[in-house]
Amino acid sequence: MIENRPYLTVVSHIVLLLGVAIVAFPVYVTLIASTHTAPEVLQAPMSLLPGSHFVDNYLAVLAHGAGESGAGVGRMMLNSLISALVIAIGKIAISLLSAFAVVYFRFRFRQFFFWMIFVTLMLPVEVRILPTYKVASDLGMLDTYAGMTIPLIASATATFLFRQFFLTIPDELAEAARIDGAGPMRFFWDVVVPLSRPSIAALFVILFIYGWNQYLWPLLVTTQEEMYTTVIGIKRMISGGDAATEWNLVMATAMLAMLPPALVVMLMQKWFVKGLVDSEK
């Protein structure tokens, strides 16, 4: 605080409260809509006070979803969870290994491989949709968890992050390990991985959210309802048009789709912020 200006402090609180209210408003309306019956939601304007069908609606979507898509949201959430976990853990694992190779070994084409990984930053899924889809379908990966996750687990960002971190590990540790007769993999497991724990935790939070929120890729590779992720499920539920859409159930699904990543952000806020800042360096 530079100087005491009470009125400015009051203004600050008002602006921030307004910001919080605007940010929270869509989710509040979603929550309310998910407690009403379908006809109540269709009444314009919908009541902004909670209705009485909270439990009914959530049980209904968890068991059999909404509209024509017959898959239950429980199944969809399981799919989302599996792909988010595989993507996050897979990215971290292969990046740890490749960063370790690049930092602790000298070998032919080291620089070349490093640049190959770097270039992937410039090729987001969106710009190579069709050919990537074709590769996945040629490999028989449509409608499989492998197809939903493996094409997404190469990560330049994570590799750089770990490389930067490994460069700060004192050389003495590696020397000591060698004198004690530890091979490179022993050193990797017993020294490098434990030291990287904070980076791994931070990255895990970011990558879990990234994996959970994937849209375009699962939209392409999943055609069967039982492979839909929650985010895809919602899109399928609303594609029937206004009259056919059971908005109360769609909104319940939306709440369920937002809950896990939002909880991760709020509960692991420290790691989340570290992950965001680190991965943008």
């Binding site: 314009a44 190779a101 969106e126 710009v127 050919p131 190469a154 929120n213």
Partner: protein
Amino acid sequence: MEKRALFRSSWLPYALLAPQLAVTVIFFFLPAGQALYQSLLIQDPFGGNLQFVWFDNFKELFNDPLYLASFKVTAVFSLLVAGLGLSISLVLAVFADRIVRGSGVYKTLLIWPYAVAPAIAGVLWLFLLNPTLGVVAYWLKVHGVDWNYLLYGDQALLMVVIAAVWKQVSYNFLFFLAGLQSIPKSLLEAAAIDGAGPVKRFATIVFPLLSPTTFFLLVVNVVYAFFDTFGIIDAATSGGPGQATEILVYKVYKDGFKGLDLGGSAAQSVILMAIVITLTVVQFRYVERKVQY
């Protein structure tokens, strides 16, 4: 920076790199090469009659009014998303920085939209602004606004901009707040003693010192608007009405998957790749906070 202490092995480093490189080659380089190659071909939708046409696909694209319109939509969209997103979050961050007690609470309450999937952000705002049942649409109508994004392209564009900004504010806010908190307080105190009020201090000290953060966020936001908003557009408007919200990324998807124009879609992919490469180079070349290679 290089390590002095190294391990020796003729095969281990290759084995360690293998998984990452395998995924990279199979799912990045192969498809990207395919896109490059296909962009020079014409093929009919049923897979026959392949013809090599050099740059005809590109020529055709740049003579196609629909493609040029999509460029314009993308430009307007990303300018609005970046402009609105940055200004709103800067205002919030400046006020949050002022508050001594409780700023942590505000931070927690403002950052969670980052966790919401773009497609879901699109659905939430679609629900609020739906002309027949949306709560906000109802208020707008009561106040005499003729709101129907299914008919008016500008309104549809506004809707996806709002959804995109809503989701991105949390990210910008975090970085602005961190930037503000790293400005030395002594500078601001000195200015205050010299009689500069809060507005003057912001304009002459805080904002200039914040410019690296602002520039970094500008690039990130443009990239976000170009690529990560696909889910918002697809869920909320599907590019419509007409072409009003059809950004470049959406058009690649639509022409390729729904229109089955492989050559044209591949050519669009190549143009998008060029854009990403430019943006990435800008980001690494001019942005202060970067990795050292």
